[in-house]
Amino acid sequence: MPDFDPLFFAEVLVGGLLAGVMYSLVAIGFVLIYKTSRVLNFAQGSMVLLAALTFVSLLERGVPFWASLLLALAAMVLLGLAIERTVLRPLVNKPPITLFMATLGLSYVIEGVAQLVWGTQVHGLDLGIDDKPFEVGGILISKFDLVAAGIAAAMVALLTGFFRYTRIGLAFRAAADDQFAAFAVGLRLTRIWATAWVAAGVVALVAGLLWGARLGVQFSLSFVVLKALPVLVLGGFDSIIGAIVGGLIIGAGEKLSEVYIGPFFGGGIESWFAYVIALVFLLVRPAGLFGQQLVESA
């Protein structure tokens, strides 16, 4: 057991928390869609890939930064509408598991389209945020992670504001609470779902840029979905706060376990240990920390 050095522990903890924020960015995209339509959108990872690939390919073809950002945004909006129209609406009253499997198929489609349109090359992406670490009380913190955390915080504030104070936000929450009641009251569910998918597309773009800047924009970007799933399981599929808190717990838990418990297993345990953490929480609360507890009845 390496000698315990509190400064290093703090550094791993902070690093883990900031890494967790990056996971939450992706997880929020899942929550938006699950919250309103009870669909676990496994294609969120490929949407992150498509968004980043569209942005960076436009940038490399000379389109200015802000223009390519807007165009990528527009692409994600169109994608959101198209998905809702072609995949979600025909499957509207099918059990959630069927919809989940449809998003599996959808992830293959989006990955195929992304690479057919923009090719399979690896692209560097520089957002102008340099990654030089700076020292705070003996702990190295990366500037990039802080900016990412700031963006995530801004996004959460924006979303909670949207849900709480706008009319469409209210409709979202109604649909999330009880689809049939919302439908009965006359809320146009299809419009709500479309907005949900568009919002998830926008979140995917933000996550795509931040992850892309770190990883480089390439096919493996879509694996980031595997990092977000334990966060969702822990935080609950339908709660944005859960996505953030879940991300922090998984991020920190993953890093601390790799550094301190990893050596006993020979290292490299991160990939499955995150799921173990999530499962332990889950066995205590079967619908996640903040997930809506389903009251069991016949």
Binding site: P96, M101, A102, L106, E111, L229, W272, Y275, G288, A298
Partner: protein
């Protein structure tokens, strides 16, 4: 499943199929047909039969079936290697039992979790097994590269080491296990699976042992998937590394039972036939039609696109999969005498 009274006795089509599989194909098929199409098709079908029992019949979604295939393959390799004189079939059965044990362990969360939460927890099995098989080189006989070579297939003195031999070896195992699976589905236990799937609470109220049924579903399906993994390694690839059983493989098996038809043993075969042969057809038809204007990469990317849209198409247009399509076609082409 209610037996639709058809003009032909119910056992006719399976017997005819077996006659073709054992009698006709070995005479006419080329080694390419066996090595690249039939043997992988059989291994994938068996894995899909296993997963169909768990997800189709018992309603427990699992995204970790590739992990159980890997356990089956590596366990069979190690039993065969380390226990001298152990007949090949015995190491296959023992490998299946190891997969069963793991299946039960990773089935435990199903007692408290349902739907997506369970599906995501089976991912834990997928990543854990992949990590463990790569990390502990004892599993691959301390071979630094972590790749295992399949032993020669000798059963009761007969060698099955030719392409036809491997095909017949795989065929026999698949036929036996599928027969047992079909038989299981018609028994009370099989009905308990469906009861737990359709309404778990009502099943519990009327006395169906829900916990035991779920674990049994995980156990039996893991056994079959484990043996399928061993077939994939010994009869098809003949050398395998843990990365061969990755998440894409799990998704492939899930896609097979969706396209083939959930809760149907035949569905596993229909789906596997399409998915095993589909990439080959697409690259052939693609290169034939489009010539070499598109390099093989573009063809392959379009295959991912077409496969994804196929999944969505089936979920929308024919949720009961190819099996339902085939039955409807059969009824239309061979009108039953008493069918209005």
């Amino acid at each position: 499943m209610n037996a639709s009274a058809s003009r032909f006795p119910r056992w006719l089509s399976p017997v005819a199929l077996l006659a073709v599989a054992y009698g006709v194909l070995p005479l006419v098929g080329s080694s390419y047909l066996f090595e690249a199409i039939l043997t992988p098709f059989l291994a994938l079908s068996l894995a899909a039969v296993g997963l169909n029992l768990l997800t189709g019949y018992a309603g427990q979604v699992s995204l970790g079936s590739a992990a159980f295939m890997a356990v089956g393959a590596f366990a069979a390799y190690n039993f065969n290697l380390r226990v001298h004189g152990l007949p090949l079939l015995a190491s296959l059965v023992l490998a299946g039992l190891v997969a069963t044990a793991l299946g039960v362990v990773f089935g435990l969360p199903s007692l408290r979790l349902r739907g997506f939460y369970l599906a995501v927890s089976t991912l834990a099995a997928q990543f854990f097994v992949e990590w463990a098989l790569t990390k502990f080189s004892w599993f691959s006989n301390n071979n630094p590269s972590g790749v295992i070579d399949a032993p020669s297939l000798r059963i009761f003195g007969f060698s099955f080491d030719s392409s036809i031999g491997r095909y017949l070896f795989a065929l026999t195992i698949v036929v036996v296990l599928t027969g047992l699976a079909q038989r299981l589905v018609d028994t009370q236990t099989g009905h308990n699976f469906i009861a737990v799937r359709d309404n778990e609470l009502a099943a519990k109220v009327i006395g169906v042992p829900v916990l035991r049924t779920k674990l049994l579903a995980f156990a039996i399906s893991s056994f079959i998937i484990g043996v399928a993994g061993a077939l994939w390694a010994f009869a098809y690839l003949r050398t395998v590394e843990p990365a061969g059983f990755n998440l894409d493989r799990s998704f492939q098996i899930v896609f097979i039972i969706i396209i083939g038809g959930l809760a149907s043993i035949r569905g596993a075969f229909f789906g596997a036939a399409l998915l095993a042969v589909f990439p080959l057809i697409l690259s052939r038809v693609g290169s034939y039609l489009l010539g070499d204007r598109f390099d093989s990469g573009v063809l392959d990317m379009s295959q991912r696109l077409v496969l994804g849209s196929l999944i969505i198409f089936f979920l929308i247009a024919e949720p009961d999969g190819l099996v339902a399509l085939w039955d409807r076609l059969k009824r239309r082409l061979l009108p039953m005498p008493n069918n209005p």
